[in-house]
């Protein structure tokens, strides 16, 4: 796959929940080795799009192709997903959590768990259960879990929410580094300013559609 070839192709994606259409015909291509910031108001369809890309939400119609595979399961080991909730067991320590998830991915070298925890600036020897972590620490642990399988594509939903400015800046630096190493990263966020100068593209969503894609934070056509 060339550097500019699309890693994700979405065509006419529609997702309905009952009579409510969360995605209304999203068509887009996303290139590899780029960091995309997905922006929009609440209910714009950002999380639904991310969940559809992560194979967690079956589209009502339309197609998604990731790394050339039409079925998510074929490439799931190449995708890392971080949701708004932590996706971690509160009663287990950071290492216990990551060791469990490592085994789900068939990772036998468990030193990668400690590496992933260190990568997000936490201590792998911390025996405290994750449930006793601060919200910011939990967010970073959640990112560590998403990075554990060294995925080619990272899908991150609100990674900076409830994270202090210093830690958020660290996370942004880490994501930029991951992008530079060849990962394609999607960040759904309401804190777009954190990604200014780092994101390669800002993808603007409104009422279930992508309405603009810009290289910076200025949304075209917005006068307010």
């Amino acid at each position: 796959m060339t550097e500019t070839a699309p890693v994700i192709t979405v065509s006419n994606l529609i997702k309905q929940f009952g009579r409510f259409a969360a995605l209304r015909g999203v068509t887009a291509e996303f290139s590899s080795r780029k960091l995309y910031a997905i922006l929009g108001d609440n209910g714009a369809g950002k999380t639904t799009l991310l969940r559809a890309l992560a194979g967690l939400s079956r589209p009502t119609s339309g197609q998604i192709s990731i790394l050339g595979a039409p079925k998510f399961h074929d490439i799931c080991h190449q995708v890392g997903y971080m949701a708004h909730p932590s996706l971690l067991y509160d009663e287990m320590s950071a290492m216990e959590n990551l060791e469990y998830f490592a085994r789900l991915y068939g990772i036998t070298d468990l030193s990668r768990c400690a590496d992933a925890i260190r990568m997000v600036g936490l201590d792998p020897d911390l025996a405290r259960p994750v449930g006793q972590y601060s919200q910011g620490m939990r967010q970073r642990m959640s990112l560590a879990r998403a990075l554990l399988n060294d995925p080619k594509i990272l899908l991150l939903d609100e990674p900076f929410s409830n994270v202090d400015t210093h830690s958020a800046a660290d996370m942004v630096r880490l994501l930029a580094g991951q992008r530079d190493q060849g990962k394609t990263i999607f960040v759904v966020t309401h804190q777009a300013s954190l990604l200014e100068g780092v994101a390669d593209e800002f993808v603007w969503m409104e009422v279930g559609q992508i309405v603009a894609r810009t290289p910076d934070l200025k949304q075209p056509g917005v006068t307010k």
Binding site: P85, L87, M92, F101, L104
Partner: protein, 224 residues
């Protein structure tokens, strides 16, 4: 690709570790069964012959209700923080998760039965006239019948609003043939009759429903 048996083992170990730390399921099951034994012992004052006739029903109804308490908690940890989504995006097979949960529940309910049976024997002065070893087979097959369907229907009712009510509503009707076989087999062993036919029925029930649950679980897991 991780080996399915390895994932089952890992998930089972994780569940047992979490239960060992919290003792949520086992404590509530024990408390509930203890209540049933005590309340029933005050309600009836049977002689030895009557005890043999009714004990099978009492024991299994108590275990069925107690099992529901544990089964309702089976998926609670997976729903908290949406950890189930982390499993769904991983390459781990759905059936490995199902088997780990079913085996975990089987262990919990068997532990409960091992602790409560001496109390039943004591309170109802039970002495089997038939081969007592057959009770072990009935216990194992009967418990599996309860937990395999219980684990499946608990997963099915995960996304319903009142899942604590939904589980017994779904589980009890489908468990009637198994419950009948368990009660009859137990009564027969206690009264000195042969339980072979009922054991064969239980075995067939287990085979049919285990196969059906394994075939359908992936659909249930990925349902929205």
């Amino acid at each position: 690709m991780p080996a399915p048996t390895g994932i089952t083992r890992t998930t089972l170990r994780k569940d047992l570790r979490l239960e060992w730390r919290s003792k949520d399921a086992i404590n509530s099951m024990l408390f509930f069964s203890l209540l049933v034994v005590v309340v029933f012992s005050f309600s009836f004052d049977p002689n030895a012959e009557e005890s043999r006739r009714i004990a099978g029903g009492l024991i299994w109804v108590a275990f069925l209700f107690a099992a529901v308490v544990a089964l309702n908690q089976t998926w609670a940890r997976e729903i908290r923080n949406q950890v189930l989504d982390a499993y769904r995006v991983s390459p781990a097979p759905a059936n490995s998760l199902f088997l780990a949960k079913a085996i975990g529940n089987f262990i919990f309910v068997m532990v409960l039965e091992a602790l409560m049976t001496p109390l039943f024997v004591l309170f109802y002065q039970l002495r089997p006239l038939g081969p007592a070893w057959q009770l072990l087979i009935v216990a194992a097959l009967g418990t599996w019948a309860l937990v395999v369907n219980g684990t499946f229907f608990a997963a099915m009712s995960l996304r319903t609003r009142s899942r604590e009510i939904m589980l017994p509503l779904l589980l009890f009707p489908i468990s009637i043939p198994a419950l009948l076989a368990m009660v009859q087999a137990t009564t027969n062993v206690l009264s000195g009759d042969s339980a072979r036919v009922w054991i064969a029925l239980l075995l067939s029930y287990d085979l049919v429903f285990t196969t059906a649950c394994l075939l359908l679980f992936e659909t249930v897991l990925n349902a929205e």
